[in-house]
Symmetry: C2
Subunit: 391 residues, 2 copies
């Protein structure tokens, strides 16, 4: 006989999920109702409005897709791209590579703009590639690269795309709610995110917003979307508006209660206040990290405050440090991915994990674990430095 | 400012979701941990074992797909079917039509075996179509048609498929946990289900099991699976086994706690005991319905105990009855779909909604609502008839 599962109580400071607030867990556990219940329909309208607030958009087609961030990504690609299209894909980490996979599985051609892991997308190169590919259907890029901690200049890339008559597809999985995602101001055509990063909901829901222009592209496709589940022409029928909903798939009721509550909390705090909090917590973390003698791999002007990639000092067993943090402190941080595997730790300060408590817990814990490995650090310097910022 | 959402407390007796037990809601609200946490990995192994128990299979590739039942369906089709394949699709309701959509969006040809809404799949016709299409890659059918309340003979259809060297793809969304789903005994190659029916978990997770033979087909495809998210070659890397997990997408942590708990409860009750309970509750409901003078649209020998399609008496406004049940009794039942729209109610006795309390609540409530409309029913006969069975 299998017993009930009782998870340990962790502090989540990896690349997501981040800590989920008890209010959101409480919402998640409210009684399940039907996906066509009039009360549920009313809540769906509220979610759409709250997402428009978070995305800074007036886009009518703004919904929580029933799946993790990778479903949000795939939803954007399979709806906007058709076989034979050319898509310019900017890759400067793991998730640009996933975009390429998406483009190719649509039968389209991906023209790559490659930048190093830990570097932002090079705007000049994007301009050059757009000039060289005049018929390109879209430019796709990652605003906040979860694999490296880099933020790219979304405004500039969306502007370039627009100039060349291409759609823009933006991965804002790690940025939404943490750093400015200005959908309408950028003129972005498709932006997707995840629930488990700066929104601090559990994973499994992917907020997506589509511009009116892009929605028209979806409606006037030559061929059916290759995915029945992700076909926005059908999904729109369910999310279209109160009273007129057409059954498509069964919505994940309770997870939608949770994203609703997480967005209500974001609205209560205020979007700009949330951005400021993420920035302030990064400043405190940085003070501690640098005082200790550690360093970031990403330049300050393009560094994500909510995802900190810290270089593993020479001679240190990075996995042993993560293991010690998990075992002794119930503290999760992330390993490096791809080109950065073994070279960095990824430390998230996202949503509910962007607090002074998290910053100081992490600094004490990593100092403890590094000291044990005999790493050359400035013992005792980190906490006072962070405390000076946190007050 | 938007407020927190507090749903009404409903009794869910529609076509799903069914009532979710407080133990499952409690599990859902446990603290979120990371998708690569060793404790989470341990629980994933337990879920796989529990699903094998529910599916009556030894299939190694048995997992909860991160999405609602329609993602489970699409996962089976996009992995097993390639452009140019021929697939025999049996349609006797709404979900066979969705299978056809899936086949065609894979670039394959669907050869249809059509039966009426409310009738089971005609085995003889399947045999004939298999003979007429010797190279068919697969036979796909719905074991338990949620749109009509019909169960088809899965053993016979899977045997026919095997005889003709075709794979079998089985929709067991509404049957798993309610009526026998005998994956290995049938020799079924791909079976998918949903969390929100007889397993009584909230919607959003789709249990899927794939035979070793079918898993080999996935591994030796000519072209990549058109969906990156659903590509089992990648998903398998994450669900492969403790210790060796490769990140693919971020698993929906809390919903997986919930399906784990729902499956633990199924194991505690016993699968055969759960089947017997669903059958017994249908018998009680039937006694009440027939005593009242109402009737089922599906013949008894192929009627699903867990999904009862009851004919709307002439002159009765079916939507008004559903509205009255929802408003006065907080009781949800389902409307008819497709060919049956306006003609039937769909009354679920699934999972936690398959209890004597549900049967008697529904009988009293529908009698009340029908009396109000002046329908010709035998007043006062239903409850004693049901009570005679329930004891």
């Amino acid at each position: 006989m299998t017993s009930s599962f009782n998870p340990p109580v962790r502090r989540l400071m990896g690349p997501g999920p981040s800590d989920v607030h008890p209010r959101v867990l409480g919402a998640l556990a409210r009684p399940t109702i039907g996906h066509l219940d009039p009360e549920f329909s009313r809540m769906m309208e509220e979610i759409k409005d709250l997402l428009r607030y978070a995305f800074r958009t007036k886009n009518s087609l703004t919904i929580p897709v029933s799946g993790p961030g990778s479903v949000g990504m795939e939803t954007c690609f399979v709806n906007l791209i058709e076989a034979g299209d050319t898509v310019i894909v900017c890759q400067n980490g793991a998730f640009g590579g996933r975009m390429k996979e998406n483009v190719e599985r649509c039968g389209a051609t991906a023209v790559m703009v490659m930048d190093g892991w830990g570097k932002p997308v090079d705007i000049e190169k994007v301009g050059d590639v757009l000039k060289a590919n005049p018929g390109a259907k879209a430019v796709a890029f990652v605003h906040a690269e979860t694999s490296t901690g880099v933020q790219s200049d979304a405004a500039a890339i969306c502007a370039l795309a627009q100039e060349h008559g291409a759609l823009s597809i933006v991965d804002a999985v790690t940025s939404l709610g943490g750093t400015p995602v200005l959908t309408d101001e950028w003129g972005a055509d498709a932006v997707y995110s995840g629930s488990q990063k700066c929104l601090s909901c559990m994973p499994g829901i992917s907020p997506v917003t589509i511009s009116d222009k892009a929605a028209d592209v979806v409606r006037s496709r030559n061929h059916k979307v290759q995915s029945w589940f992700m076909d926005l022409n059908l999904v729109m029928g369910y999310w279209s508006g109160e009273g007129a909903r057409v059954y498509h798939h069964t919505a994940p009721i309770n997870p939608l209660y949770a994203i609703h509550e997480a967005l209500v909390m974001l609205q209560e705090e205020g979007l700009e206040e949330a951005w400021a909090r993420h920035a302030a917590m990064h400043t405190a973390l940085r003070a501690g990290i640098e005082a200790m003698g550690l360093s970031f791999i990403v330049d300050e002007d393009c560094r994500l405050p909510q995802l900190n990639t810290i270089a593993v000092p020479e001679g240190v067993d990075e996995a042993a440090v993560r293991g010690a943090l998990l075992t002794r402190y119930n503290l999760e941080i992330g390993a490096g991915l791809g080109d950065l595997a073994g070279k960095v730790w990824r430390v998230g300060l996202m949503g509910q994990s962007a607090t002074g408590e998290h910053v100081t817990l992490f600094l004490s814990a990593i100092e403890d674990a590094l000291a044990e490995q005999g790493a050359a650090i400035n013992a005792g310097a980190a906490l006072p430095a962070a405390r000076a910022i946190l007050g």
